[in-house]
Symmetry: C2
C-alpha cells in the first residue's frame, strides 16, 4: 500500500463520487477507480457500496476514513517536526559553564535570548569545572560550554573566543592596599609579599597558570595559600582575610561583603570568556546556539568595567 491509496480513498469518500473525486485530484476517473479497487483487493475489504449515483463508504470504509485522515495528519506533523529539528528549532541542548561565567552579564543575556528565539529547544544548564566540562563535551553530556581559560588538550574540541575583561585584585576589606584611592591601578609587584588564593589547578588549570605567569613576569614568585574549588570560594577566603586573589572584573557584580577590588597597572592578565564545542558538531541547535552567541558577542558593549 502507498499513501496515494489513502489520499485517493479520502477524496472518493469525501466526494461520494469517483468522477468528481478524480476531477478534484486532477486525474481521470478510470485510474482512480483502479486504485480504489486495488486498495480494496489488497485489504480484501469492500470500502464502497456502488450506487447508480455515486459511491458510499461501507462500515469498513467509514472506519478507514477516520484513520486515513489521522494518518495523513500524523505524517504532516512528522514532516514539520523533522524540518524544525533540521533547522535547530526543535531538539535539546545542554549548555555548561564554569562557576565564574554566569557573573559575566553576557552569559545570562545570551541564554535568555536563545530561550526566546528557540522555545521548542529544551535547554539544560550545567555548572562544572573547565576540565569536567571538556570531558562532558567529549562524552556528549554537554553540547556547549562557557569557559574562561585555554583548554589543555583541545583534541576534538573547538574553542571560540568571545570577550575579554580585565582581571582585578580582590583584597580583604581593610587591607592596607584596599585603602587609599580605590580607583587608581595597582602594580602587580606591589603584591609580591601577599598570600595568593587561587582557583584549584586541576579544576581550571588555565586561570591558575595565568596568574602565576603574570607574577613571574612582574619579577616575583607568588606565595600560594589556599586553593578554592569554585571562584566564589576564592572570594570567601579573601573576605576572611586569608589572602588576596586575582579575579575577572565581572565578579564585582556579586557585591561580596568584605572584599575590595583594585585594578592592575600595566600588562595585567586579562580574563577571556570563551565558548567550547565539539569540533564538527553538526547538531542544528548547537549551530544555532553558536550563531547566536557570536552575534550577541559582536554587539555586546561591555558594561563589566563600570
Amino acid at each position: 500500500m502507498e499513501l496515494r491509496h489513502l489520499r485517493y480513498f479520502i477524496a472518493v469518500a469525501e466526494e461520494g463520487h469517483v468522477t468528481r473525486a478524480a476531477e478534484k485530484l486532477g486525474m481521470q476517473q478510470p485510474p482512480l477507480s483502479q486504485q480504489i479497487r486495488a486498495l480494496e483487493r489488497e485489504l480484501d475489504v469492500q470500502l464502497f457500496r456502488r450506487k447508480p449515483r455515486g459511491v458510499e463508504p461501507t462500515a469498513a470504509g467509514h472506519a478507514l476514513l477516520a484513520d486515513a485522515r489521522a494518518i495523513l495528519a500524523h505524517i504532516d506533523h512528522a514532516l514539520a517536526t523533522t524540518r524544525r529539528t533540521a533547522r535547530g528549532e526543535q531538539g535539546r541542548i545542554c549548555v555548561g559553564f564554569t562557576s565564574s561565567a554566569p557573573f559575566h552579564p553576557f552569559v545570562p543575556r545570551v541564554i535568555r535570548a536563545f530561550r526566546d528565539r528557540y522555545p521548542l529547544v529544551s535547554l539544560t544548564l550545567e555548572e562544572s569545572g573547565t576540565t569536567e566540562l571538556i570531558e562532558g563535551l567529549r562524552g556528549e553530556r554537554v553540547d556547549a560550554a562557557f569557559i574562561r581559560t585555554p583548554v589543555a588538550n583541545p583534541e576534538g574540541i573547538a574553542v571560540t573566543p568571545l570577550l575579554e575583561e580585565p582581571m582585578l585584585v580582590a583584597l580583604p576589606q581593610g587591607h592596607a592596599l584596599a585603602r587609599g584611592s580605590k580607583t587608581e591601578a595597582l602594580a602587580l609587584k606591589t603584591l609580591a609579599a601577599e598570600t595568593f588564593i587561587v582557583y584549584r589547578r586541576p579544576t581550571g588549570p588555565g586561570l591558575y597558570d595565568a596568574i602565576i605567569a603574570a607574577c613571574h613576569a612582574s619579577g616575583f614568585s607568588p606565595r600560594v595559600g589556599q586553593e578554592a574549588p569554585r571562584i566564589v570560594s576564592t572570594l570567601n577566603l579573601v573576605a576572611a582575610g586569608l589572602g588576596v586573589s586575582i579575579v575577572p572584573a565581572s565578579l564585582q557584580r556579586m557585591q561580596m561583603d568584605g572584599v575590595a577590588y583594585r585594578r592592575l597597572k600595566g600588562s595585567a592578565p586579562s580574563a577571556p570568556l570563551r565558548l567550547a564545542l565539539r569540533r564538527h558538531d553538526t547538531a542544528p541547535p548547537v549551530r544555532r546556539f553558536l550563531d547566536l552567541v557570536r552575534q550577541t558577542a559582536r554587539t555586546f558593549d561591555a558594561p563589566s568595567a563600570r
Copy 2:
C-alpha cells in the same frame, strides 16, 4: 511523498548502511540511494550524514525515524481495524426486543453468544413495543429487533421466523379453571365467558389480533377488559383477578405469584419469535448477528414447554 520513502528510510536508518539496507529490502543500492535523496530533497532536510563506512542519521533523521515507525504502526492498526470492521468483528449494533422476548431463553442465550464471539462490537439493547422497534429500524436507531408478531407494514423490513412456542392461558390463582388437573389442556371456548386482558393493540397489533381471531375461530367473541402496555403488566392484571389472558409459554419462567397457567387444546394460537432487520442492511455486525441467530435457532431444543 509515499510510504515507500518511509519504509526505505527506516531500513537505511536501522542498518546505518545503504547497501545492507538495500539487500534487506530485496533491491539494489543505487535506487535506494536515489529514493533516500529524493526524500531529502522533498523535505529539504539532510537525514543522513554520509561516512566512509555507512551512513548515520542526523538529528532530523532521528526525529523522523521515531515518527516514521509510529506512522507505519498507525497504518497497520488502521488496516486491522478496517478488516475487523468489514468482518463484523468491530463496530456497533443496537438490538431491540419487545417486552415478552427476553423471557424466551433463546434471546438471552443468543445475546450472550454474540458478546462472547464478537467482543469488539459494542452492543446496546433496547426494549420497546413492536411498532416503535420497526420505526427504530427504519430510522437506523435499531439494527435488529426480536419481535413476536407479524409486522403491519413490512416495507423495507425483513422478518426472519425463528421459533414457535405454544400460548398458554394465564388465570388468576384460585380461578375455577385453575384448579383441577393443571396439566390437562383446556379448550379455548371454555373461556368464552371470561374477561380478557390483552396487550395494547397499537403497541403490538399482531398479538392482539391473533388472540381475537383464535377466539372467533372457537366460536365466541371475547370480552376485552383492560389493555396492558407491556406483557408483564398483563400478568399483573391477571394476578389481581381482573381477567384471564393468553400469553407465550415462556412467560411461565418469570414465576409470577398469583398466576396459574393452563395449556390450550386443539389449534390454539401459537407465539412465534422472529427477528426483524432492515432489508438489504449490509452492516457487517448485523449480518454476523443474523448468522448467529439463525445458527443458534437451528440447534435450539426448545426447553420452554417444561
